[in-house]
Symmetry: C2
Subunit: 122 residues, 2 copies
């Protein structure tokens, strides 16, 4: 079967909810996901999985215990497994994420209103 | 240590050679790589590794044995392990790739002029 191209803008137009990643592709034992982020997330880490962020639109600040970094459009960053981080976006930001399949967005933090333990495919 | 943002445009400005992927980040046992592609590549597959293509600039056609697909800017596709494919770009195209670390660009094809068995980091 011929693989199907995935148009990220078209996929992004299919949802509006923030902090709720949607799966768009499988890669090995991982998932590429799209998310719309705005405001403050919670401190957490993913003990078993690296997490890649690629900013498609807007600006994303990621706080680490040793300092914050800001990702502009067209910038990416890999958060190594086990490293505590807290994303923040002043205005809505669109990101492409790569996580191990089944990873929960709030990682090792206590379950809270932002927790999405079962991402939808779009 | 705080992870460093990676600016893809800035990284792309650091090299000009085509069909010679450069590593920009580690993710689990994989590498994110940037490449500039133009013309015809060779038929090959990667028996042990999925391969993701994300088009940053230009247009990339990927031929499969059952048909071709064309990726425009902002589109991505995952070629599952073992699936034969042949990239082609009429004019220079810039892509973000994700491969298992150590994967050779020409995969299972006989070593040829395009083979890069040891990608550089930039």
């Amino acid at each position: 079967m011929t693989p199907t191209p995935i148009n990220l803008s078209q996929k992004l137009s299919q949802f509006a909810d923030q902090w709720s990643p949607k799966i768009i592709a499988s890669y090995e034992n991982c998932h590429f996901k799209l998310a719309k982020l705005q405001g403050d997330f919670v401190w957490h880490s993913h003990p078993e999985s690296d997490e890649a962020f690629f900013v498609l639109r807007g600006r994303l600040r990621i706080d680490f215990r040793e300092g914050a970094v800001t990702l502009e459009e067209g910038e990416m960053l890999v958060v190594p497994k086990g490293v505590e981080h807290k994303p923040f976006a002043e205005t809505e930001c669109h990101v492409l994420l790569l996580d191990r399949a089944g990873v929960v967005n709030t990682g090792d933090a206590s379950e809270n209103d932002l927790t999405e333990s079962d991402c939808d495919w779009i």
